[in-house]
Amino acid sequence: MSTTTTRKRKQEAVRQTRAARPKKIKSKDSWSIGDRIGVGLAWFFGLMLCLVAAAITLYMAWKGVSFVNWEIISTSPEASLEQSKTGGFLDPIIGTVLLTVIGAAIATPIGVAIAIWLTEYGRPAPLARFVEAGIEVIVGAPSIVLAIFGLLVFQQGFLSPFSFTAEGGAVFGRSFFAAGAVMSLIALPFVVGGTREALNSIPRHVREASYALGKDQASTIRRVLLPSSRSGIATGSTLGMAQIAGDTAVVVVLLGASLQISPEGDIPGLDVLKGTGSTLTSFVFQNSPAGEGNAPDKAYAAAFVLLLLVILLNLIVNLVTRKGKQVWG
């Protein structure tokens, strides 16, 4: 009797220790087929991304090196039936730069103001929520819709000074100014985003220190917060500029279809803003097989210059974020 109970106890003890000590698993055993396929797919798609980016870069670089030369950059486009006489794309380059500058110049102050209100005041809270959502809606709004809405606005009679009025009294509604104003909407969310991020990264005690010195909120914003979020603002508006430089729909609708920059009116400087023109994006579009020009070589050359410009702007963003990072004690 006693021997059987002890034996039973022993067996029980052995069973318990076995249960307590889990079976040793080799690390490979826990990877089922499905897991391996998952990891394999992750590797595959990750590498595919690199491959696609590399392919685009190399292809564009090759096309750029073969078609870009000084002549094509430094001559204005001409309308001609002969391909060799259609000139280069000096005017589109100037157009892109001009439009980018106008857009950023309008978007930056407005964007900074909105960002300050959202982060520093934000009252009443529901209104702030709605403004935040509204900015998301602007990000998502197709640029073609913004463009034809802009056309609708700038064709109103009271905005005729910003573009050109035809003889019948119809307002043309297309000009550098109109395109720049709509472009500023495309850049706006980026400025707001960059500025908000910078303002959010400033710790609370910095604001408190300013209040302790007797400054009120408005002057704290002006003297303390704005100067320290300078790099964020710069990042935001540079990203916005890259966005403007790459947008085509607004240009096609709002800048008119003229290849050269054609000034309107007789006030020097302002006449260009009132006039029509083209940008690198519209030049590429017009010269692609989908457009009227159908000169792939020129389209590639202009696309290469455009790509360089956009990459340059993005590099500036990287540089500014790295240099401008403020460390708060």
Binding site: V145, R204, Y211, A257, P289, L307, N314
Partner: protein
């Protein structure tokens, strides 16, 4: 973050209010400027709607239906008589709506799968050097202007599709309906997928990185492998972010105009998925691309009104999608994952 500061600001505000009326004025001015965003959006929707209304009322419900050739109808509208009472509005926009839906939907489906896997790769499995390359790669893909994607599509991808994928048999089988020349739904979908990938990857990697480390360590401590821990813990935690990414990418896809105008063939045709793989190779033209093609005719009154009706459809659908994406991301930040 904002709420956190509120208490302090209220006090300082109380103290300074009597001495500095300027402070109050600054707040009001900035607030008014910010509210202009909402006024602007409301104005845009209303004005575009009013401008497009004659086209919608002129057709009633058949505007959304099929029937007839859209391109012929658009030409008729463009050539309609100059007297307002004789304007032609007859249009059945179904092929354009269908093409918009089809291309965006397929591209977003592809992009969702690819972006989830590649985000997992970037966050968890990529070796250090590769991870460091991938970040600028994603940024680079996001930075390429859509017209360059379109150019590469129309000069590289379209001829390739025309030469390798389309056989002579296919051409003959549909020759009475449509001409196959490489400009196709497939080209549009492939490039659109590449174009919307970066936004999706950015949102998904951000929130994957924000999943608390201890959650995953808990799973790992229970003996599951890295892949399982990621799939069962991290991926489930960020489901709202995946929804947000897909929704925002859809908004982007719906609005893509230039690239699709270049590669999808600019023919108002509704490819039928029941035709098998062939429908991928048929040309088509979504709404946004139609507006680009019609940009020259905007000053012709009834034609312009039709274009504004398209724009109204686009702005309402993308606006709702953006709002939904924003709300989904907000819900995520409540659990402090992906607070951005």
């Amino acid at each position: 973050m904002d709420e956190q500061y509120l208490g302090i600001f209220d006090e300082s505000e109380q103290a300074s209010k009597e001495e500095h009326p300027t402070n109050r004025r600054v707040e009001l001015m900035l607030g008014a400027l910010a509210s202009l965003v909402l006024v602007f959006i409301a104005g845009m929707v209303i004005f575009v709607f009013l401008k497009g209304l004659p086209s919608l009322t002129g057709n009633g419900i058949s505007w959304f239906g099929g029937g007839g050739n859209v391109d012929e109808q658009l030409t008729n509208i463009f050539n309609s008589p100059a007297e307002p009472e004789n304007y032609v509005y007859e249009l059945s926009a179904f092929p354009l709506l269908w093409s918009t839906f089809l291309i965006s939907f397929i591209a977003v489906c592809f992009a969702t799968v690819i972006s989830i896997f590649s985000s997992i790769f970037i966050v968890e499995f990529a070796p250090r050097p590769l991870e460091r390359i991938l970040e600028p790669v994603v940024k680079f893909l996001a930075a390429i202007p859509s017209v360059i994607y379109g150019l590469l599509g129309v000069l590289v991808l379209v001829p390739w599709i025309n030469d390798t994928l389309i056989t002579e048999e296919m051409r003959v089988s549909v020759r009475y309906v449509i001409q196959l020349d490489g400009t196709s739904v497939l080209a549009g979908v492939i490039i659109l997928t590449i174009m919307i990938l970066p936004i999706m990857i950015a949102i998904i990697t951000d929130s994957l990185r924000a999943v608390p480390q201890v959650w995953r360590e808990g799973a790992l401590a229970l003996g599951v492998n890295r892949w399982r821990a990621l799939r069962t813990v991290s991926l489930r935690a960020i489901r709202p972010a995946i929804v947000a990414a897909a929704v925002l990418a859809t908004a982007r896809a719906l609005g893509e105009a230039i690239m699709l105008a270049m590669v999808t063939g600019s023919i108002g045709f509704a490819p039928n998925p029941f035709d098998g793989f062939l429908f991928f190779l048929e040309p088509s033209r979504p709404l946004a691309a139609t507006i680009i093609d019609g940009a020259e005719g905007l000053s012709v009154e009834p034609f312009g009104q039709t274009m504004y009706a398209f724009a109204f459809i686009l702005i309402v659908s993308t606006g709702l999608l953006s709002f939904a994406g924003w709300a989904a991301r907000k819900s995520l930040s409540r659990y402090s994952i992906g607070a951005k």
